[in-house]
């Protein structure tokens, strides 16, 4: 059994050796290529990947931040818009209320002024009536006096006598009564 394994191992070793010989593989060249590749990989890792990945990460972070900020700004804008609409609606309501109050106030004022004007007008009319009545009374008195005097004068001229003060008084009173009647 051991002989078979040894033979197999020997055969395997020979095959490996032949294969390496055919393809020009040897430890020296192999290790040289290992070192070359390791150097390239480490240099690229240090000088080529790290800075670029850092930049990409930074950019990704900035974009993420930007998106978050944009989202935040959008939300704030929506809130501001909502607040603006609320303020506008409140201002509209306040303005409407003020207009209504002003209208009401104006109506009241107008009513009061109208009443005052009516009252003033009535007062003027009353005064005018009173003045007219006084004037009328005065005119009537004057007219009575004048008429009494005319009646007395006419009677004296018609009768051809001088009328006594009593006659004059009586005639004037008679004329005034007739005029009043």
């Amino acid at each position: 059994m051991n002989l078979i394994i040894a033979a197999a191992a020997g055969g395997f070793s020979e095959t490996l050796h032949d294969t390496a010989e055919t393809f020009g593989w040897n430890w020296q060249l192999f290790l040289s290529q290992v070192i070359s590749f390791v150097i390239v990989a480490l240099l690229l890792r240090r000088f080529a990947y790290k800075p670029i990945l850092a930049v990409l990460e930074e950019r990704r972070r900035k974009i993420e931040e930007g998106q978050l900020n944009a989202e935040k700004i959008k939300k704030e804008l929506a809130e501001a818009e909502k607040r603006y609409q609320e303020i506008i609606a409140k201002a509209d309501a306040d303005a409407q209320k003020m207009i209504d109050e002003a209208r009401e106030s104006a109506a009241h004022l107008s009513e009061r002024k109208q009443q005052e004007a009516i009252a003033a007008a009535e007062q003027i009319l009353a005064k005018a009536r009173e003045a007219s009545a006084i004037e009328h009374e005065r005119t009537m008195e004057s007219l009575k006096r004048e008429l009494g005097r005319l009646v007395v004068d006419t009677t004296a001229k018609v009768a051809g006598k001088v009328l006594t003060p009593e006659d004059q008084q009586r005639l004037q009173e008679e004329a005034a009564r007739q005029l009043a009647g």
Partner: protein, 287 residues
């Protein structure tokens, strides 16, 4: 005899028993006892190019990217998001540097191998039978058409995979993940399931041990095959028309370059995800 020159492919004519494109990298010079191969040179050129490019791209980083920074951000950011979608946020944070390097490095090494001159400029000899110059030692060779390179990447992944697995699961969790029975069973069935899962665990261990081999040979095979196809296409027509047949295959190889880089990265990422994820219950347990 070392002759420097430019040759349109002729190896198939020159050597019928040898493959048109050599299976192995060729040493072009030595530093002491250390041989520098043509594929190693390509690997270094591409590595230096990527590092310089990345350095320029990240030298003066601006908040609003433009030019090279924009391209590098697109590449790194795209890979990061792509991997994050597959292996998850936590794991990608820890492992991204490796998977990104795997993809970028393999991709540009593959594409570099398609530049005209790679594999056709070098040292060679004049073939008196054909009257053409034959390149024996190309100055440059596709980096991933060298098994040393692909096994190096696969081996690094294997070590990192083990480290990440132990970090995620602990030694006990790691062994449990491999050998412990999954699901809710009782009595005799539980014992039976324990035996079965223990045996399946060994199959899993073998499968894990073979991953570096399959990863490295898949990439090597595809890239080597691509180079061979381009070589074959150029030699199947008269010399004056040799530029035409490879053209569609160049486009295919550009695609193969991307696909192979993606396959290597995805497989390594998925292997890592499978071992690093925690079992939440029978429905999530790997079969």
């Amino acid at each position: 005899m070392l002759v420097y020159g430019i040759a349109l492919a002729t190896p198939a004519v020159a050597a019928e028993t040898e493959p048109a494109v050599s299976l192995k990298p060729i040493p072009i010079f030595e530093i002491g006892k250390f041989a520098i191969t043509n594929s190693m040179l390509v690997t270094w050129i591409v590595a230096a190019g990527i590092i310089v490019f990345a350095q320029i791209a990240t030298q003066n980083i601006k908040p609003i990217p433009s030019g090279i920074q924009n391209f590098w951000e697109w590449l790194v950011g795209g890979l990061y998001n792509f991997l994050e979608g597959i292996i998850g946020r936590e794991l990608v944070r820890k492992t991204f540097w490796f998977f990104a390097t795997i993809f970028i490095f393999i991709l540009f090494v593959n594409w570099f191998g398609l530049i005209p001159g790679v594999g056709t400029i070098g040292w060679g000899h004049h073939d008196p039978n054909t009257g053409l110059f034959h390149v024996d030692q190309p100055l440059l060779r596709g980096g991933n058409a060298d098994l040393n390179m692909t096994t190096a990447m696969a081996a690094i992944f294997f070590v990192l995979w083990l480290v990440w697995a132990l970090q995620a699961q602990g030694v006990g969790g790691f062994l449990k993940h491999l050998f412990a029975p999954k699901g809710e069973t009782t009595g005799v069935l539980k014992v039976l399931m324990a035996v079965i899962f223990f045996m399946v665990g060994w199959l899993e261990v073998i499968s894990i041990l073979f991953r570096p081999i399959s990863l490295s040979f898949r990439l090597y095979g595809n890239i080597y095959a691509g180079e061979s196809i381009l070589e074959a296409m150029a030699t199947m027509v008269p010399l004056w028309l040799a530029w035409l047949p490879p053209i569609p295959f160049y486009f295919m190889e550009i695609l193969v370059g991307v696909v192979q880089a993606l396959v290597f990265m995805l497989l390594t990422a998925v292997f890592t995800m499978l071992i690093a994820q925690h079992d939440h219950g029978p429905e999530h347990a790997p079969v």
